[in-house]
Point group: C2
Chain length 343, copies 2
Amino acid sequence: MNKEITIYDIAKGIGVSPTTVSRALNNHPAVKEKTKKKIFQAASEMGYQSNVFAANLRSKKTNNIGVIVPSLNSSFQASVLAGMEKIASEAGYNLVITQSLESSEKEIANTLSMFKSRVDGLIVSLASEAEKLEHFEPFHKKGIPVLFYDRVANSRDSVGVTIDNIHAAQIATNHLIEQGCKNIVHVLGSTKISVYAERLKGFKYALIDNGMIFKEDQVIVLDKIDENGAEYVVDKILNLNPLPDGLFVSNDACAASCMNQLIQKGIKIPEDIALVGFNNEVISRLVHPKITTINYPGVEMGEVVMRNLINHLDEPETMLLQNTNKITLRSDLIIRDSSLKKK
Amino acid sequence: MNKEITIYDIAKGIGVSPTTVSRALNNHPAVKEKTKKKIFQAASEMGYQSNVFAANLRSKKTNNIGVIVPSLNSSFQASVLAGMEKIASEAGYNLVITQSLESSEKEIANTLSMFKSRVDGLIVSLASEAEKLEHFEPFHKKGIPVLFYDRVANSRDSVGVTIDNIHAAQIATNHLIEQGCKNIVHVLGSTKISVYAERLKGFKYALIDNGMIFKEDQVIVLDKIDENGAEYVVDKILNLNPLPDGLFVSNDACAASCMNQLIQKGIKIPEDIALVGFNNEVISRLVHPKITTINYPGVEMGEVVMRNLINHLDEPETMLLQNTNKITLRSDLIIRDSSLKKK
């Protein structure tokens, strides 16, 4: 690495005093505009980097915000990060992003690494394995804000941004019942993850509300709910007797893949089985028939989480976050052909 | 924010000297294992953060790697970032991620911000608007490595990781010609972006190789090639006389959406128009018919870029990067039903 450029080099280069250079770079009114311009230009040409480390040592602020996602390779998480980055970058913050790969161990290591590198705030969507929350204690102790989104912590002293997963599952299940379904199967991910546990509740509540009895074989749980889980699901479904007449799958890619495999086996969608997915991913609009789904606004969720965190960082005296426990975003059912038995 | 915990607090807390605490935290052999353990535990319980700023001030290393992507909300970029994060986190580096949103202005601002925050290295996939590369000069001057991927810089002194886009477009086009297509249309993004410019070359080369004449109306250019561009494309195609018999679309989501709209207009795929996409996204496997596409290995690309950067950072004396200009990954044509006129 080349020699570090200092204000002394700049001063020497254009024949002014180091004090003048320092003042100009800090936009001091005592330096003439013309001189400032000359100094800025020289600083830029010589490759001067203002000494952020020393500056940080004084202000104790890094302007970095840590984000821990379960997996970066997810279209939902991609949309959330896009929303976060937009707000953070407008406010002058950088995102430091890691993935837990659904491992509690890696989540703890990531959290520790974020703490050590002194992020100004931390945003987390929990790993499926994560059951304990002690690794966030050091942040609480130092007053560094921690916000959760999508997969939130079930604890009094944290802030979580979610959709109402219970309600969303209720409206999805109610819709299938309205279409005449009497025997609905719900496909979901591990109930250790808050979102799936809540959607399962909503599914059961909708059955109860409609006077139906819930049976254990109406639920198919996948370790990882995505395109690759469909074979297992379809196999399970085809072995049910009678065949279900409704299917509520908690992920669009998995729903699309299930639908294709069911159609291949000669089952008509929606006539034989009406189908509802979750997330409103691009895929739900491009398969045939198009999939009825819950609109989960990823970009907006990213924006809301980040805006709340930054408002708190910039004006901690408002105590806004201290008094907030939960922020719930709007989500809706988008009705398409995959579920419309009655047209 | 609460009071900063120092080694003096830890020393006082457990009744040893500050020197012993400092030595223990740096794993000095002179401190007994039992004492070390006690000190580590106290440091953890009290919420001690090692003074990374002061440490950085000495080592001039942040262990942060900057990544600038055109858009975070993209399934291809999501897979690349997943690959990058895996390698970086194993090697103890953090990713600082920003998006240029295809704006040259924002790319320049992001680059400057990365330079000021002193990333150890920078990885960039260029914005479509980016034509000049001067904003990377400060990095070159200071010997901070800059690597490009996917959308790479056409310059001698940079390292770029890509697939062979010319070759990929050639095999896609050759395949359509082998299927009997005589009038193929190529849909692509702005040719200011290297990947599209190269694929257009490959398309033309394949025509020439097969003794066909290239006409300007065989190319449809979209500002942004995605699901939403399909309406414009289908409209253009249906106004061509004669109708093309082959379609090579440089993005799977756009290809899938075009296919659906063409089918709706009564056009048979592949019988009337044979279709080839690009990227091998999940969507290409879940639509009907399944889409023939070029496998673009995003996760692997992320891994290769990051591994090369970190090898260079950890062992700059090998000069590996200085002598490398281009790294090309394997890409293949995956043949599915959307293009198979001859079965």
